[in-house]
Symmetry: C2
Subunit: 208 residues, 2 copies
DNA sequence: TTTTTTATGTTGCATTTGCAACAGACTTAT
DNA sequence: ATAAGTCTGTTGCAAATGCAACATAAAAAA
C-alpha cells in the first residue's frame, strides 16, 4: 500500500525503544480487539488483512471497514455506541502494533525514538485513512445499487484501467457497498446484459 | 467543537509567519473550493458552517459532508473521481485557512512557527475527522431508514441526553442519512405513533 | 405588515431492494 | 479422489423506499 519498506524499518527501530508499545501476531479468524469503552487504544496493522465487524441487535454481521498494510484503527477513532458490538477480526495471519494513544501522545512525547518516528509517519497514515473513509462515504451516499457499483468500478479503473480484479469477493463487495448480495448480483446481471461490463466472479472489465 | 481558544491563538500566531498560508473570508452561498485535480490543497475551517456537495451526472445535489469549526478538508483527502463534481459551499459566513499540504509538509518543515504549531494540532484535528467519518459510515451501513434514525439519535443522546435539537434541519438530516426526505418523514411518523420518540421539527425526545 | 420562499408532513403509486430458497461452481479439508 | 463447506448466480415474492404532488407551517424578504 504505502511505503512498506520505511514502515518496516520503523518497526524494527521502535520495538525495543518504547515500553508502551506491543507487537502481536494473530491467526486467521482470531479477534484482534474489541471496541468497548474508550481506552484510547490505537493500532497499526503491519501485515495481513482484518475486518472491523459490527454485530447489531439482531446478530447480523456487518463489515464496517477493511484494514490492510499500514491501516490504523482502534477506539481512538470511534464514538462508542453501546447498541452495537464492534470487533476487529483477522482475515488471515496478522501482525499488529498496539498502544494507547494517550501514552504515546502525552507520556512518551519527545522521549522515545518510536514516538519521534510516529510523528513522521502519522500524517501519511491518517491522510490515507481519511481518503479511504471519504471514498467509502462517497459510494454509500449513492442511493441505487447501480450507482454504487459504477462508482466503485470507476474508482478502481482510475487506478488499474478498464480491467481489474476486485480486492473483494462478490459477497464481500456487497457488504462493502451495503447492499444485499443477491440484489447486487441481479444488478450485475443487468449491467452485463446492457453491455456495460463483463464479469467473471470478481474480475471486472468495463466496456464504456 | 474542540478547544477553539487554542486554535484562535494559533491563527494569530501563524498568519504573519508563513507565506504559504492564506486566510480567506466567504459569504453565505459562496464556493470555498472545488475538488478538481490533486493540488494537495488542505483547508481548515476557522469559523462558520460549510457543506461538501457532490453534483452527480443527473445534476442531483448530494451533501457528502458537513464542516464546522476546526474541520479539515481539501483535495488531500480525496480520490478525485471525474464522474462527479465536488464543491465546498459556505452555509453562512466562513473564515478558512488555505494552504498546500505539500508546502507545509515539505518546503516549510521546521522552518516556520505555523508549521510547528500545525504539527501539534494535527493529531487532534485528524482524529476528530476520522471519528466523524467513521460514525457516518456506521450509520450509512444500516440498511433501513429506521435503523439509521435510531442509530443517529442514539449517538446524539450519548452526548446530550434523551432530549436534543438536531444539528440539522429535517431536510438536511435526510441528506446526511442518505434517504428520501418524505420516506424519512414517514418513518418518523411511525416512530412517533409507536411512542419511540417525540418530535417537533428538529427537536427530538427519546421515550425509551 | 404582506408577500415570497423554503421547510415540513402526508399519501398514493411505482420501483427497487431485501429476503428466502435453491442449484451449480468452486475451494478446502479429509 | 471424495466429501464438506463456501461462494455465486438466479428467481419469486413481500416489504421498504423513492418519487411526485399537494397542503400547511414557518422563515425570510419586500
Amino acid at each position: 500500500m504505502k511505503d512498506n519498506l520505511e514502515i518496516s524499518k520503523f518497526i524494527n527501530e521502535f520495538s525495543s525503544n518504547c515500553s508502551k508499545v506491543q507487537v502481536k501476531d494473530f491467526e486467521k479468524g482470531e479477534t484482534i480487539t474489541t471496541f468497548l469503552v474508550n481506552r484510547n487504544q490505537f493500532c497499526i496493522l503491519i501485515s495481513g488483512i482484518a475486518d472491523l465487524v459490527r454485530y447489531d441487535y439482531n446478530g447480523n454481521r456487518i463489515v464496517t471497514e477493511r484494514f490492510s498494510d499500514n491501516s490504523i484503527f482502534g477506539e481512538t477513532f470511534y464514538k462508542i455506541n453501546t447498541n452495537s458490538e464492534f470487533v476487529v477480526e483477522a482475515k488471515d495471519k496478522c501482525k499488529v502494533l498496539l498502544f494507547s494513544y494517550d501514552d504515546i501522545n502525552q507520556k512518551c512525547k519527545a522521549h522515545c525514538s518510536f514516538h519521534k518516528k510516529l510523528i513522521d509517519f502519522f500524517p501519511t497514515l491518517v491522510i490515507s485513512k481519511i481518503t479511504d473513509l471519504t471514498s467509502r462515504i462517497d459510494l454509500l451516499s449513492r442511493r441505487s445499487t447501480r450507482d454504487k457499483l459504477l462508482g466503485y468500478f470507476n474508482l478502481l479503473s482510475k487506478e488499474y484501467g478498464k480491467s481489474f480484479t476486485l480486492p473483494f469477493s462478490i459477497t464481500e463487495l456487497a457488504n462493502y457497498l451495503v447492499v444485499d448480495r443477491s440484489s447486487m448480483s441481479r444488478e450485475l446481471a443487468i449491467l452485463k446484459k446492457e453491455n456495460f461490463i463483463k464479469q467473471d466472479r470478481n474480475k471486472i472489465t468495463l466496456l464504456y
